[in-house]
């Protein structure tokens, strides 16, 4: 099975993720979209690992999964706190960092 198939799947997932991050208003959905982008990268890493017969790619993928888990943990905690304080997670309304 040629590697291009995997790359197409990966590109599709990544683009879906980018769309979700940029366009969705809901903070939870944005976090999920980030997960999509990370997993798109993971598919690429694993595919090339098999293609080139090199275990390094798979090791990278494992690291990314671990870090993604941590990132989601922190991200969900932030979203939860924002929801509690402001009753809503609409990202357009959250501009505390405005200069």
């Amino acid at each position: 099975m040629p590697v291009t198939q995997y790359m197409l799947l990966s590109a599709f997932l990544f683009c879906t993720g980018v769309y979700g991050v940029l366009a969705r208003r809901n903070g939870v959905l944005v976090l999920m979209s980030i997960e999509l982008m990370l997993n798109a990268v993971n598919i690429n890493l694993v595919a090339f690992s098999a293609q080139l017969n090199d275990a390094a790619g798979q090791v990278f993928a494992l690291f990314v999964i671990a870090i993604a888990a941590a990132e989601v943990g922190v991200g969900l905690a932030i979203v939860l706190l924002i929801y509690r304080n402001r009753v809503g997670v609409n990202l357009d309304e959250i501009d505390l960092m405005k200069g």
Binding site: V18, D95, K98
Partner: protein, 675 residues
Amino acid sequence: MFLAATEAVTHAAEAGIAEKAWLIPLLPALSFFVILFFGKKLPKGGAESGILAVGASFALSVFVAIDWISNHAVVDQHWVWWHNGDFKITIGQHVDGLTAMMFVVVTFVSLMVHIYSTGYMHGDVRFTYFFAALSLFTASMLFMVLADNLLQLMVGWELVGLCSFMLIGHWFEEKNNSSAALKAFFTTRTGDVGLMLGIITLFFAAEHTFHIDTINKLALEHEIGHGVLVAGAVLLFLGVMGKSAQFPLHIWLPDAMAGPTPVSALIHAATMVVAGVYLVARVYGVFWEGFSIEAGGINWMALIAGITMIIAAALAFVQDDIKRVLAYSTVSQLGYMVAALSVGAWTAGVFHLFTHAFFKALLFLGSGSVIHAVHSNNMSEMGGLKKYMPTTFRTFVIGTLALAGIFPLAGFWSKDEILLGAMEGGYPYILILGLIGAFMTACYMGRCVFLTFFGEYRGHGHPHESPRSMTVPLILLAIPSVGIGLINATAFGIDNFTRWVAFHVPDVHEFHLEHHEFNPVLAIASLGVALAGLATAAMVYYWQTVPAGLRGATDRGGLRSLKTLLIEKYYLDHLFVDGVVGFIKGPLARATYWTNQKIIDGIVNAVGAGTRIIGRFTYDVLDQKGVDGIVNGIGVSASETGGVLRLVQSGRVQQYALMLFAAVGLLGLALIFFT
């Protein structure tokens, strides 16, 4: 320390104690600081420190002299004092017969004066200060004598001048005394200008060196042009005229009597005034060639010295103040010394300095003893003191006879040699003036003795003999005044002094000073005029048997104007005060004032105005517009940039992410298109 590098040149293998000669001036200098800081706390108010230091210096001087007599080893060492580029200024010691002789004289007389002062100055308000200055005075003179170069010599010379100023003005509460101190200072200072210029001239003439031996050598070997030597000798002699009180700069010396009597003794016998004679003797090569002494005839130095001998002796006749008689006598005797050097009789001049130091110190201390007893300086308030003060009387008479040149006392031998030198050296007028001077010396000293010690007491109160601290130095000084001349008793074939103290420049062989055979006719002539002088004085002032025709002659006609002239001191003070000082005070001061007001003030004002303009420009343009502009500009531009950039920072995370991805996309496109 200045002892950074040592360059020692010793002309003989063994120099022994003479190499430690630098201790001789150092000890009194240390004593000066000890007295200055701790004097008031010492039991004797600092006097013991001075006596101890000067006594130790005297002992060392005697050892150095003995060492010199037995070895004849010249010590000529110097150490680098400071560097000036490649040029080294050195400080050194030069020990030969002349130095050793001066050491002995200065320390001995100074020691006597120190001891005497403990009695004379007892209870003085500034007793401690007096002894501090006395120590410094001695140290300065010794430092000057030790010098191997002219610069160091000048340092000592000026220190001596300073100390004499301090001591002459010791009782400065009285206006007269502080004026006298200032007069001494300024008059010698006038000569010192010449000295300084002379030293500079010789420095450049002698291939950039201050070293005295080298300068003498170059002068005697005709390595220095004659014109430059004449200039150098004349300029140096100006300094000598000031310091050694030669006509017409002698005017300060009689006024210097304002100081305490022990100081007068020190100034007149061992320090200060003999510094000038010492300078001539030390740099004799320059004077020998500069004034063409060998040629005989008339030279400037001999002329000045001859005039000084006679006019000072004449002035001594009309003085009532006993110290002033002695002061003019000193001026006259200094004239003899300089005259001896100016006729080529080097040894005679130095020998006269040597003998004169003892009997002149004796006479001054004796007069101090008298003044102490009668509380007055005036001989008109003395008289008949012979029976009240036997010790003072006897020693004073010894001093008088020595000064008058009576055989076989000290003054006879040295004065005789001077006259001999003048005769043999081709200076007949010095011989004649010298003989007249000898007559006058004997005469005014006779007058002084008869007025003071004989006749009836004319003062107030009850005179008494002075304490032992004062009479013992008198006796100790009377001994050499009698006997010291015998070390060069040429009549008996003794010429120790000539062999011990000689003018010698290393490596110059063709130069020899002549030593003349004793001349009995001349000796008898000089003794004769001295006795005649004493006899004249005795006739007028003791027996008072003036021939009828001459009685009251000094109040009539020509003699009266002569007397007035003498009392007015030849009007020299008027000349200096009204002429020189008046000129300076009058037109010169006005000219200076005008220059000051118009030119210097103008320059100052212009500079001020210019500075204001520059300052205004700096403030308005450079500071306000330039520097402030730059600073404000930076601030404003930072603020403006921030204003633009804050639009970007919306606080919306998705907007940031959009920018991020857009940038990544653009970079990706760039990567594709440009590689």
